[in-house]
Structures are given as structure tokens and as C-alpha cells.
């Protein structure tokens, strides 16, 4: 099966500034892929390269087997795009924006789907784009990206400015599209939404891809916090001198650890003692990412 997105050594530099450094990435049809990184990490540059809005300085990229430069019109036919800094024509109504963009599509769009999407998002398409709030403009942008129900969606921070209810609707819509086989390339620096929606994430730092992993694995590799309360006194420190286990805090009845990797050795060490309560917390994706941003070499 052709990859929805395939990049090989894709690089982009502006004079002496390297915006994207040898990006190798493969995203499959039907996958929701989160592309994470702080501002300026190269997320938007990657999307603009895929759409041939800018040209790479090295490497190549293809969408569904089509070269992003030589077959750029065909690539854009297969792509729906939501820019991070969405700008619309303020004098046009939402419906007119839909008509305008539909007219540039090679095949007729499904008007019923557009209407149902607008209804789900509670967006009035008769209002002028210039009179819409930021959240409603974003909803219109999402509708425009989904207009032709293309096999690839490139969404640059899609839920920016949306309220939590609208965010959930958008996530549902994206899951539905993914179930139809649409690949969703989802750039964000909002970790919680990536955690909610994406199967795999790529972490970009200063133009370099520092990790590509399923969200669950990414979290599993990281430290987790463990807090143990004892009925009697706490065991002596030497009991917990285990690989991957670091004691953080100790008082008369409670111990707090940071555990890397498997938790089983700690549980075995605790077994002889009278444990009253044990709480473990997975790291949030924010913590995982902050660890990446601080640890990964630039």
C-alpha cells in the first residue's frame, strides 16, 4: 500500500537557518499522526513542503505515491489543508467560502456532508467570515479542509481557539475520517489533544525529528510517579536500591518514587511490607515532551 506521506531526507533551510533537517517519515492511510513540537520546530514548514507552497533544499516528499513537487496539483487534489494561521475572505459568507473552494476542486463536493458538518459544529454558514469569532472561523477552516473528503488531511493546530465541546466534535470527525481510510497529519503543541486523538506521534525539535512512537509507548518509556503509604513504619532505603527506581520523598508513613521502565521489581520489593495504599501516575504527554525537549540533542 502506498504511504499517505513519505519523506526522505526532507530538508529546508533559509539562508543559514535550518528549518527542517533530513526528515524521514512514513504515515499510513487511516492513521492519525500527531506532529509535535514547540513553535519554530519545523511543523508548519513540513506541511508547506508537502503542499509545494515552499521548495525543499534537499530530500523528497510524496503523498499517496505522488511527488509533492512534480505532481503538486494532484497532491493538492488529494489533500485538505487547514493553515495554522487561518485567514478567510472577510466579505464572503461561510457558504460563499465553501462555494469558492468547491469550485477549485476537481470533483463536485458532497453538499449534504458540508451541511451536516456545519450543523454538528453549530456553525452558521450564512454569516460573513469577517463577523465570525476565532473559534467559528476555525470551524469554517475545518469544514474547508474536509470539503472534498480527501484521503489526506494536513491540519496545523486544528483545535486552536475552539471550546472543549467543539474540540471533541472535531476529534470525533477526525476519527470518523480516519476510519474511512483518511490519513490525518495533525500538527500541534497542545499535548492533551494529541494524547486524545493520535495513534502515533512524531516529536520535532529545532527542525529534527527526535522520536516517532505510538503515544502509549512514548509514555511507557518515561518515568512514572509512584506513591506508597505503609500501615507501619516505612522500610529502610536500601530495600529500594533497584535499577530504574529513585526515591524522591520519605516521611514516617509515605514514600514517593520515580520509576523508569517496569514497575514489577518495586512491587516485589514492597511485598514483605504492609502496604496501605499505592498510587501510580503515568506521566502526562506534556511531561514526556518536556523531557524530550530538554534531553534530546539539538
Amino acid at each position: 500500500m502506498e504511504a499517505a506521506i513519505l519523506t526522505e531526507g526532507l530538508s529546508k533551510s533559509y539562508d543559514s537557518v535550518l528549518a527542517l533537517d533530513r526528515l524521514d517519515l512514513r504515515i499510513e492511510p487511516g492513521e492519525i499522526f500527531g506532529f509535535l513540537g514547540p513553535n519554530g520546530a519545523g511543523k508548519t514548514t513540513t506541511i508547506r513542503l508537502l503542499l509545494d507552497l515552499i521548495r525543499p533544499t534537499a530530500g523528497r516528499a510524496s503523498v499517496l505515491g505522488m511527488d509533492c513537487q512534480r505532481q503538486s496539483v494532484a497532491v493538492r487534489s488529494s489533500t485538505g489543508y487547514l493553515p495554522g494561521d487561518l485567514r478567510l475572505y472577510p466579505g464572503l459568507r461561510g457558504r460563499e467560502m465553501v462555494d469558492l473552494m468547491s469550485g477549485l476542486r476537481p470533483k463536485p463536493v458532497d453538499r449534504g456532508y458540508i451541511r451536516s458538518l456545519a450543523a454538528r459544529l453549530e456553525l452558521d454558514l450564512e454569516k460573513h467570515a469577517g463577523s465570525l469569532s476565532k473559534g467559528n472561523r476555525q470551524k469554517l477552516g475545518i469544514i474547508l479542509a474536509l470539503l472534498a473528503r480527501p484521503p489526506l488531511l494536513l491540519l496545523d493546530e486544528p483545535t486552536s481557539g475552539l471550546d472543549p465541546i467543539a474540540q471533541r466534535i472535531v476529534w470525533d470527525v477526525l476519527r470518523e475520517e480516519a476510519n474511512r481510510g483518511t490519513a490525518v497529519f495533525f500538527s500541534s503543541h497542545v499535548m492533551s489533544e494529541v494524547d486524545q486523538v493520535c495513534e502515533r506521534v512524531g516529536i520535532l525539535r529545532a527542525g529534527r525529528l527526535v522520536a516517532v512512537e505510538p503515544v502509549a509507548e512514548l509514555k511507557a518509556h518515561q518515568f512514572r510517579h509512584v506513591e506508597v503509604s505503609f500501615a507501619g513504619g516505612v522500610p529502610p532505603p536500601e530495600v529500594f536500591q533497584l535499577a530504574g527506581v529513585r526515591e524522591l520523598r520519605r516521611d514516617h508513613a509515605t514514600l514517593e518514587f520515580e520509576v523508569a521502565g517496569a514497575i514489577a521489581p518495586l512491587l516485589q520489593a514492597l511485598a514483605p511490607y504492609h502496604v496501605r495504599d499505592l498510587r501510580t501516575e503515568q506521566p502526562t504527554l506534556d511531561e514526556v515532551l518536556l523531557a524530550f525537549y530538554h534531553e534530546a540533542p539539538a
Binding site: V73, A74, S77, L100, M101, L104, L144
Partner: protein, 205 residues
């Protein structure tokens, strides 16, 4: 694939400017057509040849044809500058407004987008120029002028290639320089330079 909607959008974008230009063309032509009798008695313009060269047909403004040709050609420069301003605005303003990315991410080749914009703008300007015809007819009635409508129409139609040339120049300048002010300044400078070259050419002949 149709880009007709995009052409209509371009036409809609310039409709205010085109109406304004149309009103200006209408008033200028009406004023000139109605005031022809004031020039009717001028038999010979006693000016140096060089000056006659610069003003083209000015030497024969006592005839309806020469008079009409003179004022129609005088419309060309302001019309050219106005057309260039619209042309430069077409692409540069998309970039300034940030809508260019959304547009270029659609499955249409850039030349085609540019062409559909150009067609919309050209239609707008053609409608503005067409306002000269009713003004001429009305002015002719007032001044009881005998000049043939067809000859006047030919003079007006001769403006259209200029409009097309300056429009395409403005579009390219706007697309390449992506800054409306710079593109407009460069284009206006070119128009003025062309005007003077044309005038000097008349003197040399």
C-alpha cells in the same frame, strides 16, 4: 474543473473600484463630448512642432475626430495607473491578508489561478471603459456633434489592449514583488517612463 467562481470572486473584489472608474470615465467623456463646440472654432493650433508631437492629435482638435482622439488618449495614463493598482493588489493583497496559502493549497495550478484573477479584473475594467459609450452619446446629443458612433467605439476599443497590458503588468509585479506598495510604485514608474518615451518618440519623428 472550474475556476469560474474564482473569476467571479475577482470581479466582485474589484466591483467597487470598477464602478468608481466607470463613473470617472463616464464624467470625463461626457464633459469632453458636451464641450466640443467650444473647440469647434479653433482652426490651427499655433504651437511648436515638438509640442504638437507630445500632444499627438492636439493640432487637429477642431475636428470632432481629432478632438475625440485627443481626449480619449488622455484618459489612457490615469486608466493605466488605476489598472496597475488593481493588478498589483490582486496577488499582493492576498499575500498581505494571509489568504494566499489557503488559495495555493487548492488543486489548481498557479498560472490558472493568475489567469482567472486576470480575467475577472479585465472584465471589471472593460465594463468601466464601456461607460464611455453612453457618455459619448449623451454628450453628443447635448453638443449636437456629428461624429460617427462607430469611430468613437473604435477609439474606446483601442483602449482595451492598453488596459490588458497594464493589468498583466500589474499582476506580474504584484506576484513577483508580493508587496503592494513596491509593486505599485515600480509599475507606475514604468507607465510614466513609457508615456515619456512615447512623447519623446513623437518629437523625434
Amino acid at each position: 474543473m472550474t475556476v469560474g467562481r474564482f473569476t467571479r470572486k475577482a470581479l466582485r473584489d474589484v466591483h467597487g473600484a470598477a464602478i468608481g472608474a466607470g463613473v470617472a470615465v463616464f464624467l470625463v467623456v461626457l464633459l469632453h463630448a458636451a464641450s466640443f463646440p467650444s473647440y469647434d472654432q479653433i482652426q490651427v493650433m499655433h504651437s511648436p512642432d515638438a509640442l504638437k508631437g507630445i500632444f499627438g492629435e492636439a493640432g487637429s482638435i477642431s475636428s470632432p475626430e481629432g478632438y475625440t482622439g485627443a481626449y480619449v488618449s488622455n484618459i489612457t495614463v490615469p486608466l493605466a495607473i488605476f489598472t496597475i493598482v488593481l493588478g498589483t493588489r490582486a496577488i499582493a493583497s492576498e499575500e498581505e491578508a494571509g489568504t494566499l496559502d489557503l488559495l495555493l493549497s487548492q488543486p489548481v495550478g498557479r498560472p490558472r489561478l493568475l489567469l482567472s484573477k486576470a480575467v475577472g479584473l479585465a472584465l471589471g475594467m472593460a465594463l468601466a471603459v464601456a461607460d464611455a459609450l453612453p457618455a459619448f452619446l449623451l454628450g453628443g446629443l447635448v453638443a449636437e456633434q456629428q461624429m460617427s458612433v462607430w469611430r468613437f467605439l473604435a477609439a474606446v476599443v483601442s483602449l482595451l489592449p492598453f488596459v490588458a497590458i497594464f493589468l498583466s503588468f500589474g499582476l506580474w509585479a504584484g506576484a513577483l514583488l508580493s508587496n503592494r506598495a513596491l509593486a505599485g510604485t515600480v509599475s507606475a514608474a514604468v507607465v510614466v517612463a513609457m508615456y515619456f518615451l512615447n512623447a519623446i518618440g513623437g518629437v523625434v519623428e
